[in-house]
Every structure is written in structure tokens, then in C-alpha cells.
């Protein structure tokens, strides 16, 4: 069930959840957002997470990325158990080992594209690796736009800056929550292409939440969530196979 690539670290685990549960509220307002989820994200792999609205996709991602606490179970980035970390250590972990691409509010409007890209490294007080940076910027095709501010860039370009930022610090894993949710299909395709390239060519690990079967088809593997549980998995997806699986759940969901 593994999708091996030519990359040497391909078999290592970049992140892993074991019996991960997340419960919001209690009593009548109790919501089980994640119900004992166990999942593994391999290094050098592009994983898409899909599922109906409210199924817990974002919650899973937030818990894995150290943005939210878990109710029980374990979430690990590499060998680091997240629940054992304090806020300061979590912040440092996010800064050094994780890259983020959100649906919106990715960039600081006061900084130029270049400054936005190097922001995590600036925060850490690290020097950016110039060669790597150039390569990332080239890959996302932003060389001409580095001195522009976000307000001078289109939505698609802004997302590309966000992807470049996530890649620039060479994190162990990149989490992207509906990165193409606000974009038209062409800009969306560009972003997805970059994410896939970064996996194929740069050996990056990417986990992406999406609602779009076409977007999911860029991934190596698709994990399906429903009601806070992993219900299915698909390797080497195409838009059609993904759509077909989704239909199956919908039917199941309605009959059960």
C-alpha cells in the first residue's frame, strides 16, 4: 500500500497520528471532531485529505500541525510527540519543522513578497539558504514579483508566495488547508502543480485538505474522513476515481 518514489527518505514517517481524538465542548454541546484516528504521512509523499464538511479534516490538520491540542491519543512530527510540548516549544517546532498554506490570510500586507517568503527564517533569526531560495522562487515563478506587496499581487500569485514561504525554510512537512479554495481553476491548478513538483523534485512532504476531486488527483494518496473517522484511502488517485469514492460515501452516509 505504499507509493514509493525515487527519493531516498521516502520510507521514513514524516508525521503520524495514533488513536487521535478531539472533543469540543461537553454535555449537550459535546462534539467529537476526531474519533480515534490513526494515520501516517510518509516523507516525500503528497497526501490529500477529503471528506464532507464538518468531518474533521481541518481539525486533524490543526492537531497534527501543533496548532490545536488533542483530547487523547498521540500526534507526532518526526519523532516529536506534540502533546508533550509547551506553547513555546510548539511555536518553535512550527517555525522550524512545519510549513503552512492557508486558504486566506497567508501574507503580511506590510511586507514585500520576498520578505514574506523569508519571514519564518527571519523570525528564527536564521539566514536563508540563497541557492535554495532562488530555486523555490523560480519554481513558483515569482522572480519578477519579489519586491511587490501582497496588495499588488493577484490572489493566485499571493497563494504562490504562500507556497514559496512554506517551502523556503525546508520544513519536514507542509500542511495546506484548502489552498485553492479561493482561486479560479487555472490559478488553482498552478498552485497544485507547484505543490506536486515540490514533492517530486524537491522531496517535500505535503498534506493538503481539499473538497475538490481534481485537486485531490494531484496527490499520491487520498485519505477520506467522515464523522471524525478515516473511512477510506486511495492511492494514485485520478479525478474520476476520487469522485466515484466520494459518491460511494455519500450513498453510504445516506443509507446508514
Amino acid at each position: 500500500m505504499t507509493t514509493t518514489t525515487a527519493h531516498p527518505t521516502a520510507t521514513a514517517t514524516a508525521a503520524r497520528a495514533v488513536d487521535l481524538s478531539k472533543v469540543y465542548g461537553d454535555g449537550e454541546t459535546r462534539v467529537v471532531a476526531l474519533d480515534a484516528v490513526s494515520v501516517e504521512f510518509r516523507a516525500g509523499e503528497f497526501t490529500a485529505i477529503m471528506g464532507p464538511s464538518g468531518s474533521g479534516k481541518s481539525t486533524l490538520m490543526h492537531c497534527m500541525a501543533g496548532l490545536d491540542t488533542v483530547s487523547s491519543g498521540s500526534a507526532r512530527i518526526g519523532d516529536t510527540e506534540l502533546s508533550a510540548l509547551k506553547d513555546k516549544q510548539l511555536t518553535k517546532l512550527r517555525r522550524d519543522k512545519i510549513g503552512f498554506v492557508f486558504q486566506a490570510f497567508n501574507l503580511l500586507p506590510t511586507l514585500t513578497a520576498a520578505e514574506n517568503i523569508t519571514l519564518p527564517m527571519d523570525i528564527a533569526g536564521r539566514k536563508a539558504d540563497k541557492q535554495w531560495l532562488d530555486r523555490v522562487v523560480d519554481t513558483v515563478g515569482l522572480s519578477e514579483r519579489l519586491s511587490h506587496r501582497p496588495s499588488q499581487l493577484s490572489g493566485g500569485q499571493q497563494q504562490r508566495v504562500a507556497v514559496a514561504r512554506a517551502l523556503a525554510s525546508r520544513p519536514e512537512i507542509i500542511f495546506a488547508d484548502e489552498p485553492t479554495g479561493n482561486l479560479d481553476s487555472r490559478s488553482g491548478a498552478e498552485i497544485l502543480g507547484f505543490l506536486r513538483n515540490s514533492v517530486k523534485e524537491l522531496g517535500q512532504t505535503v498534506v493538503m485538505v481539499t473538497h475538490d476531486p481534481v485537486a485531490a488527483s494531484y496527490a499520491d494518496r487520498v485519505v477520506f474522513l467522515a464523522d471524525g473517522r478515516i473511512v477510506d484511502e486511495l492511492h494514485g488517485p485520478t479525478a474520476d476515481t476520487v469522485l466515484e469514492r466520494m459518491k460511494r460515501f455519500d450513498a453510504k452516509g445516506r443509507t446508514s
Partner: protein
């Protein structure tokens, strides 16, 4: 709609608190200043007011040498229209409390003649008789604890007198009501003490029923030439009118000063309220748009905001008004405990003040809410609901900058022009300063970028947080500017006044130090003249090597009245060091005198000239100008030999006595002087240090009053910064969430907000300091004619303190917003809405 508005007010407690607090502070600042002004004003008015209800005609003497004789009193009493007469004589009389300290404030301690119970009902004891008895007013008796039978130490022109208290009386004398004191002697004693044996200063005549004031006055006027040269009679009505006019003019400059404070208070108050509401409505844009989207009309949206403003305005206006009264009370207490000469009296809370407080509270709040509310109502619902925050329009700023540049330029030109003008310079300068302030205020958004950019090197050590803070602080130039302006205006005033005051102080200090060789200066605590015996006693005191009375004598010199300063010629060279352009102090000798250059220029005299003189006793002679010196605060005008002038001037008074002691000032010398002068409470013996302390104490007191008032402005500024930051944090919560997600820790988020706050505060401070120094420089031009050696001194220590205060404002204001920002839930912040 009203209910929606009300619910809105209550729904956002923190926001509400901020608004109410801002309005409240604004209002209390205004009403506190007004109450303080009114209180002092009414107390002063009361102090100088007299009841003229019983006076139909008052006769006053016109010439010191021709007081009103007893026979005139008797004659007037016999006139058919006169029912009764009260003749009075009075003068300054210092009394010591049981610890030997001077009672009252010097200027309001008086003595007079006991004229019977009609005017001074005796509450205890009996009227004073003979030369060693007095009656004391009941308020002073109560305050000092003196009762009938006690011995009172007092002094009129220097020597200590010990008088027995025989009675305690009550009086409606305004001076006493204001906190002064009054002692009464038997008439003959009072006449002797106050220099008019057998005669009076004033005769108050009560008219018989049915006699008109004018008729009585005409009758009296016929008598006057026979008894008293130059005496005049005035009707009671005229006196009352005159009195009212005099009081009004006495108080007018004081009122102008305090009113300009009230004006500043009003300005700052209006400003902070308007600012707060603009932000508040901006914050609510989405909420309002939602209301529009679900079907509320524009008018309803506007009205809901207005109703909200009304509720806030009324509540905050009322509480602010009460707080203002408290502030006025505290301000007065603080000043009084600092030794300020403030008259007593109840706090004067006038209806006008309450009106102003409410007008500011409600009016300004509603007005401030109206503009943004209209703007909010105009925004199409959809646009307002998107997450984009509209940046300031370039067009608006262009117009604003042009206007600001014009105003500032005009203001600066007027300030410079006013600084060089001889007459009315202060008016022109003041007007220019006002224009300049408004101009710079309008320009602040434009100025924010370069000034903040200049601060970049200071922020560099903070790395990315410093960079972000800098960028954020210029993101909304209008808001930053509005926030910084409150601090700017306060600091401009503080700086200008401080620089001027310190410069004057330094200059005067230096003059005194350079020109005074004496170790001690002896004066009356009250500013009056010392009696001649004091100089004799000083000369004979242990350890005194040289001493000279500095005497004030009237002469007619070269055909015009001239008050000359008499000094003891043999000693003066060892007591003073003056800068002479011709001659030296040795030229003060016999018929030779020296004059200061200003007087010489004014009268057209030159060194070597011989001038005719006529002394007060009528003797004529000639005096030669033996030298010309540079006059100063210490001594100026004509200086001549006491040995020459005193014999011809029976009423010469000693302004001060300069003393040099063997081996310089010391504790022992001071003690021996105090003893030699009979441990007199009104005689002040000061060494050089005490003299400069005294010079500075008035200036310091003035500065302290200003600092107290301006502390309010600073408080308001803090609130403004808090508001702006809270708003920024609210607007940028997504960004902050994103920063936290990609690795900015809580401490760094806090640091970022704090730095932003510091940048804004320093921006205001730098503008304020710059403007303040400029204005102080300009004011220097107005001072120089009076104080030629005036040079501007920049008090770096105080400027440092002001910057520290600005930093403190920044840090304090950032406390809460920074905490809020650091506590933001990362997930909430980055979740799309």
C-alpha cells in the same frame, strides 16, 4: 432600533469601557479645569470685594503728606446729610503663629484701627486700648489657636512687637474670608504705626435717611480743600462700580491663562472622543453592514449609532463632570500643600461648567459618531462585509497635506515675526503658535512616514518584530497621527514652557551669582520695606564685616520723578559687582552717582553729566553721573550714596540689606543675624543658595501647576494609544494568528505590539519636543528686551524625562492590547470567516 443600539452598547463591555473612559476623561479634563478656574476666580473676587451698602460717600487722601485730619472727620459728621462717619487707617501687619511662623500669605495680613462694634462686632473680650493691645479676627484666632489674654508676636515694618490680645471680633472683610488676617489697634496706635499720627486714610460716610449720595458728596467736597490737599470724595455707587471693574481687570490676565488651559482641555477632550468613536464605528463596519443587509435603512443605521453615542455621552458626561470636580479639588489641595498662594473658598461649580461638561460629553460624542456613522451607512452591505479594510484614500491625504503645509507655514512665519516684534509680539506669536499646532496636527499623517523611517535603526536590533512594528505603525497614517497628536500637543506646551522657564531661571541665577558678592540678603518676607533700625542692628551683629542698606528714595531728578536706590558708599564695593561701561562702583560717593544703561538711554544722560536734583524735603542740589552700568534683576536705575540721600528723605525705606560676614556664609553667622533681629517672623535672611532657591521656587511652582494640568493630557494620550492598539490588534487578528502559526511566539507578539506603541508615542513626543523648542526659541525674542542676557538653555535632563514619559506612555498603553494579541487563539484567528 433603540433597542438594537442599547443592546450594542451593552454587548461589547471592553469596547464600551474604553469609549466611556475616553469621553469621561475628556469631560473631566474640561470640567476640572473650569471648576478650578472658577474656584480661584471667585475666591479672588471675594477677597478684594467690599460691601459698600453702608457707604454713601468715601473720602480718600490724595497725597501721602496730607492724610485726612480728625477735624475733617468731625466737620463731615456735622453735615446735615451725614448720619455717621467711620474713619480708618490701615497697613500691612504680619503676625506670627505659635511656632513663630508668618500667618497667612503675607499680602493678605493687615492691621487697622478699631472703629467700634458697628463694623467689627466683638465676639469675645473687649476693644484694644493703648499701644500694647490688639483685637484679632475670629477666623485667624481659630486657625492659630490664639485666645484673649495671649501675647501676639507681630511686625509692621521690621521690629518685633509683642501685643496682648484683648478681643476677638468677627468681620465680613473679604480679605479675611479669603484666608488673610486682620488685627485692630486703638485708633491712635494704628495712626502712629501706619505713619499717619492724628489722621486717617479714608472716611466712610453713611447718609441720613432721605439724603442722596450725590448731595452728600457735593457737601463734603466743599470741605475738602480746607483740610486735605488732593483728597477726593466718591459716592458708594461709584466705588462699587469701580471695584467691580478693578476686580474684573485684575482677574482678566489670570482668567486668560486659565481659560487657555480650559481651551486646550476642550481641544484634547474633543479630540480623544472623536478619535475613539471613529475607531469604534470603523470596528463595527461589518456589524452595521449586516444590519443593512438584513434590511435596515441607512437612516436607521445612522440613528442606531447616534443613539448609542447619546447613551455613552450622557453617562460618561455625567461621571466625567463629577470626576472633574474631584480633580479640581485635588489640584487645589496639591497646589496648596506645595505652598502656592491660593485663596480659600468653596469649590465653585457653576451651571456653565455643568453645561460645558454635558455639551462636550454628549455633543462631541454624538458629533464624533455621526460622521463615521454616515460613512458606515453609505458603504454597500457587501463591500463592508468583505474582509478587506479600506486603506486611507490618497486624494483625501493630498488635500489634507496641502492644507496642513499652508497652515504650518503661515503659523511658523507668524511665530518668527511675533518673536521679533516690540509691541503685541505675544499676540502675534500666540496666534502663530496656534496655527502652527493645527497645521502640524493636520500634517501628522504625512510626517509619520519619514519620522518613523528615521527610527528604523533603533528598531533594527529587534529584528523581524521591530520591522513589523515599524511597518504597522505607519499602516494607517491617519490613525497613528491622530493618536500621536494628543501626546504632541501636550508635549509641545510642556516643552515650550519648561525651556522658557528654565532659561529664565538660569539667566537670572547667573546674574545673581555674578553680581552679588554679599553673603546674605535681608528682606521682608512680605516684599515691603524694612524699617531703618534693622540696618543698624545688622551692622552691629556679630561676624558682620560689611553691610549696606539698599534704600528706595523718591527724588525729582533732572526735572522728572525718579526713584533712586541709596547704598552705603564705603561698603557697597565689597557687596556688589556690577558691569560698568564707564566708571565703577567707587563713583557712588557724595554727590556722584551711577545709572544703568537703560535709564541713561531713556533719559538721554551720559557719563560725566551734572543733573539738578530736588529731594523730598525740598532741598535742591546737583548730582554728577560718575558711571554707567549694565542693570539687572538685582539692582538697576540710579544708585547713589545713602549718606547723601537719606538726610533729605524722611520716608526712605530699605528694600533690602546686603551683608558680608567674616569668612563667608555659615550657620553661626546666620544664627547671629537671626538673634540680632529679634527672631522676627517677617524678616527673611537668605544666603546665595536660598536666593536662587527662591528665584526658582516661583518658576518651579508655575511649572508644577502646568505639569499637573498637562498630566491629564498625558493620561488622555495613553488612552488614545490603547484605543489605537486595541483596534489594530482587532483588525489584524488574522495576521497575528498567521504569524503565530508560522512560528512567532507569544513574547515576540507582545514585543511587536509594544514596539508599535513606542513608535507611535515617540512620534508624538518628537514632534512635540521639536515644536516646543521652536516656540520656546521664539518666546525668547519677547523676553530679551526685559532680560538682555537671556539665552535659551535646553534642559536636557527634563527633555530626557519627557522622552521617558513618552516611553512610559507607550509601554503602559501597550500592556493590555499586547496581552490580548498574545492570547489570541491561533485557530480562531486564521479560520476564514
Amino acid at each position: 432600533m433603540f433597542r438594537t443600539a442599547l443592546r450594542n452598547v451593552l454587548a461589547h463591555k471592553a469596547r464600551l469601557m474604553m469609549t466611556v473612559l475616553a469621553v469621561m476623561l475628556g469631560v473631566s479634563f474640561v470640567s476640572g479645569t473650569l471648576v478650578f478656574t472658577d474656584t480661584i476666580g471667585s475666591a479672588l473676587r471675594k477677597a478684594s470685594a467690599r460691601s459698600y451698602s453702608d457707604v454713601a460717600v468715601a473720602v480718600t487722601y490724595g497725597d501721602v503728606d496730607h492724610p485726612l485730619p480728625q477735624r475733617l472727620v468731625d466737620e463731615i459728621g456735622r453735615l446735615p446729610g451725614a448720619e455717621s462717619t467711620t474713619a480708618t487707617v490701615s497697613g500691612f501687619t504680619a503676625i506670627a503663629d505659635k511656632e513663630g511662623r508668618l500667618v497667612g500669605d503675607g499680602w493678605s495680613t493687615r492691621g487697622g484701627n478699631y472703629t467700634g462694634t458697628g463694623r467689627y462686632p466683638m465676639l469675645e473680650g473687649r476693644a484694644p486700648h493703648g499701644s500694647s493691645e490688639v483685637a484679632l479676627d475670629s477666623r485667624t484666632a481659630e486657625r492659630t489657636g490664639y485666645t484673649v489674654g495671649d501675647t501676639l508676636r507681630m511686625s509692621i515694618d521690621g521690629p518685633v512687637m509683642r501685643q496682648k490680645v484683648t478681643g476677638v471680633f468677627s468681620t465680613d472683610d473679604g480679605n479675611v474670608a479669603a484666608g488673610g488676617s486682620l488685627v485692630l489697634f486703638e485708633t491712635a496706635t494704628a495712626q502712629k504705626l501706619f505713619g499717619k499720627p492724628g489722621s486717617y486714610e479714608e472716611i466712610d460716610v453713611k447718609a441720613a435717611p432721605g439724603t442722596a449720595q450725590a448731595t452728600l458728596k457735593a457737601g463734603i467736597e466743599k470741605l475738602l480743600p480746607r483740610y486735605a490737599k488732593d483728597a477726593s470724595a466718591t459716592t458708594g455707587q461709584n466705588l462699587a462700580d469701580e471695584e467691580a471693574r478693578r476686580i474684573a481687570s485684575d482677574l482678566s490676565s489670570f482668567n486668560t491663562a486659565l481659560l487657555s488651559f480650559a481651551g486646550i482641555a476642550l481641544f484634547v477632550g474633543i479630540f480623544i472622543i472623536a478619535n475613539t468613536f471613529t475607531m469604534l464605528v470603523a470596528q463595527r463596519t461589518k456589524e452595521l453592514a449586516l444590519l443593512r443587509a438584513v434590511g435596515a435603512s441607512r437612516r436607521q443605521v445612522t440613528r442606531s449609532v447616534l443613539v448609542e453615542a447619546l447613551v455613552v455621552g450622557v453617562v460618561a458626561g455625567a461621571t466625567g463632570f463629577l470626576l472633574g470636580i474631584g480633580i479640581a479639588a485635588v489640584m487645589r489641595a496639591v497646589l496648596a500643600s506645595a505652598g502656592a498662594l491660593l485663596p480659600d473658598g468653596a469649590l465653585a461649580v457653576q451651571p456653565g461648567t455643568a453645561g460645558a461638561a454635558l455639551a462636550v460629553g454628549v455633543g462631541v460624542t454624538v458629533l464624533a459618531a455621526w460622521l463615521p456613522a454616515r460613512r458606515a451607512a453609505k458603504i454597500p452591505p457587501v463591500a463592508a462585509m468583505s474582509s478587506v479594510h479600506a486603506p486611507a484614500t490618497v486624494k483625501g491625504l493630498l488635500l489634507r497635506n496641502t492644507l496642513g503645509a499652508l497652515l504650518s507655514a503661515a503659523g511658523a512665519v507668524l511665530v518668527v515675526a511675533g518673536s521679533g516684534m516690540k509691541d503685541n509680539g505675544n499676540m502675534v506669536l500666540g496666534g502663530g503658535a496656534g496655527l502652527l499646532l493645527i497645521g502640524v496636527f493636520v500634517l501628522t499623517p504625512l510626517l509619520s512616514r519619514p519620522v518613523v523611517a528615521a527610527a528604523a535603526p533603533l528598531l533594527r536590533p529587534f529584528g523581524v518584530t521591530g520591522n513589523l512594528a515599524r511597518q504597522n505603525s505607519v499602516r494607517n497614517p491617519r490613525r497613528t497621527a491622530a493618536t500621536a497628536s494628543a501626546l504632541m500637543i501636550g508635549l509641545t506646551l510642556i516643552t515650550a514652557l519648561t525651556v522658557v522657564a528654565i532659561s529664565v531661571k538660569t539667566t537670572v541665577d547667573e546674574l545673581a551669582a555674578a553680581h552679588l558678592k554679599a553673603d546674605y540678603q535681608i528682606t521682608m518676607a512680605t516684599g515691603q520695606n524694612l524699617s531703618p533700625e534693622v540696618a543698624e542692628k545688622v551692622a552691629g551683629a556679630d561676624g558682620v564685616s560689611d553691610s549696606s542698606a539698599v534704600r528706595d528714595a523718591h527724588t525729582e531728578l533732572d526735572g522728572e520723578d525718579e526713584w533712586v536706590t541709596g547704598v552705603d558708599a564705603p561698603q557697597i564695593g565689597r557687596l556688589l559687582a556690577l558691569d560698568f561701561s564707564h566708571g565703577s562702583l567707587a563713583a557712588v560717593h557724595g554727590e556722584s552717582m551711577v545709572v544703568d544703561s537703560d535709564t541713561a538711554e531713556r533719559r538721554g544722560w551720559h557719563a560725566g553729566q551734572s543733573l539738578p536734583v530736588r529731594y523730598d524735603d525740598g532741598t535742591k542740589g546737583r548730582l554728577t553721573i560718575g558711571g554707567v552700568f549694565e542693570g539687572g534683576d538685582l539692582i538697576n536705575g540710579v544708585i547713589m550714596d545713602n549718606a547723601t540721600v537719606t538726610p533729605h528723605t524722611p520716608k526712605a525705606g530699605d528694600m533690602r540689606i546686603l551683608v558680608k560676614t567674616a569668612g563667608g556664609a555659615s550657620e553661626a553667622h546666620q544664627d547671629s543675624l537671626v538673634k540680632a533681629l529679634g527672631e522676627n517672623p517677617v524678616i527673611k535672611i537668605q544666603d546665595k543658595a536660598a536666593i536662587s532657591r527662591e528665584l526658582s521656587s516661583t518658576i518651579d511652582l508655575m511649572l508644577n501647576i502646568l505639569y499637573g494640568l498637562l498630566a491629564m493630557a498625558v493620561l488622555v494620550a495613553v488612552l488614545g494609544v490603547i484605543n489605537t492598539l486595541a483596534m489594530s490588534v482587532f483588525e489584524r487578528k488574522h495576521e497575528i494568528g498567521m504569524l503565530r502559526a508560522i512560528g512567532l511566539d507569544r513574547a515576540a507578539v507582545k514585543r511587536m505590539i509594544r514596539l508599535e506603541s513606542l513608535v507611535i508615542s515617540f512620534f508624538g513626543a518628537v514632534l512635540g519636543l521639536g515644536l516646543g523648542v521652536f516656540l520656546a526659541w521664539a518666546v525668547g525674542g519677547l523676553i530679551r528686551p526685559d532680560l538682555p542676557s537671556y539665552a535659551m538653555v535646553l534642559p536636557w535632563d527634563r527633555i530626557g524625562v519627557f522622552l521617558a514619559i513618552a516611553a512610559l506612555v507607550g509601554v503602559l498603553a501597550a500592556l493590555w492590547p499586547a496581552r490580548r494579541a498574545a492570547r489570541l487563539n491561533v485557530l480562531e484567528a486564521i479560520k476564514a470567516e
